[in-house]
């Protein structure tokens, strides 16, 4: 077991990580960490648009994961693996990074990959047009990717470089999805 927290802390500090969380996600945890993020950034850059963007990307990432796990749990009781999150918020030079990781079904990979690869190729004007189109699309709670659509576009509009993602195989049915937003 990893118990040398001093080493762990130094690793985090060297990587300029401000907030690190690993565990099951709930709305109250989203709110508490969100409040901490805001408070911290307000002391660093009061009234700055970037602060609002970091908070916003953080909310979209965590609520996307929460909604995904809720859809997976629907009718089958709670499925713990989907509700866990690994979250890092840190600094990278002049920018901030919000990165999250969660376990997803392999079957959900192709549309997710297609959506992200598409967004990565769009400029600001195209992202705005897509945002407006998606904003008026009817909400479909049975669509496994509903909601994530506008959330991903919104994140892509707030990042200063294309949204980055990684997928790692963990077993026959599951992968670990890692989303990285630089703001």
């Amino acid at each position: 077991m990893l118990t040398d927290l001093w080493d762990f802390r130094q690793q985090l500090e060297e990587a300029q990580i401000l907030i690190c969380f690993n565990g099951p996600l709930s709305q109250s945890i989203i709110e508490e960490i969100g409040a901490a993020v805001k408070k911290y950034l307000e002391t660093e850059m009061p009234g700055h648009g970037k602060l609002l963007d970091v908070f916003s990307v953080y909310i979209e990432q965590t609520q996307n994961i929460r909604n995904y796990s809720r859809r997976k749990a629907a009718g089958q009781g709670e499925l713990p693996p989907y509700n866990g999150i690994t979250l890092l918020i840190g600094r990278q030079g002049e920018n901030y990074v919000v990165a999250s990781g969660n376990i997803i079904d392999k079957g959900d990979i192709p549309p997710l990959r297609a959506a992200l690869d598409h967004l990565r190729g769009l400029d600001a004007a195209a992202l705005k047009a897509l945002y407006k189109e998606q904003r008026r699309k009817p909400h479909d709670e049975h669509d496994a990717h509903a909601g994530a659509g506008l959330g991903l576009i919104d994140m892509a509009r707030k990042t200063c470089q294309p949204l980055e993602y990684r997928l790692r195989d963990i077993d026959a049915g599951h992968a670990f999805f890692n989303l990285i937003a630089v703001i």
């Binding site: 709305q27 989203i30 963007d53 979209e60 609520q63 904003r135 699309k137 909601g147």
Partner: protein, 126 residues
């Protein structure tokens, strides 16, 4: 007569006060509730019922400092209802107030206003 719709604010949901007598529909605060669509469903239903019988001018007055994308979608649906009301020749407007230190709230308002035809007033707080 319809009942006044009142919701207290929470950390992640706005205060709501929709008054059918005055026609002033207020929302204030931050909006990123758990299950956003369920949160807004009764509010949307109230608005739909109200507009079906509203005779007096309707003014939606908003002071929303942060909206998650689910809330953005719900607001768009509400604004479209108000816009349709306006296009039927009835008086409806939106007033959006934002704080000077919140540039994103201004941009959000502008991007809504671009896609609507009813009067959309954007006012800055000191």
């Amino acid at each position: 007569m319809m009942e006044r719709l009142i919701r207290d604010a929470s950390k992640a949901s706005p205060a709501i006060d929709f008054d059918p007598v005055s026609g002033v529909l207020r929302m204030q605060g931050e909006s990123y509730p758990e299950n956003t669509f369920e949160f807004f469903r009764p509010i949307m239903a109230w608005l739909r019922d109200y507009l079906a019988q509203a005779a007096a001018p309707v003014s939606m007055e908003l002071e929303l400092s942060y909206l998650n994308t689910g809330s953005i979608k719900c607001l768009m649906d509400m604004f479209d209802l108000l816009d349709a009301h306006h296009q039927e020749g009835k008086a409806a407007r939106i007033v959006w107030r934002y704080h000077a230190n919140n540039p994103r709230a201004l941009e959000t308002a502008e991007e809504f206003a671009e896609d609507l035809s009813l009067p959309f007033l954007i006012e800055q707080h000191p």
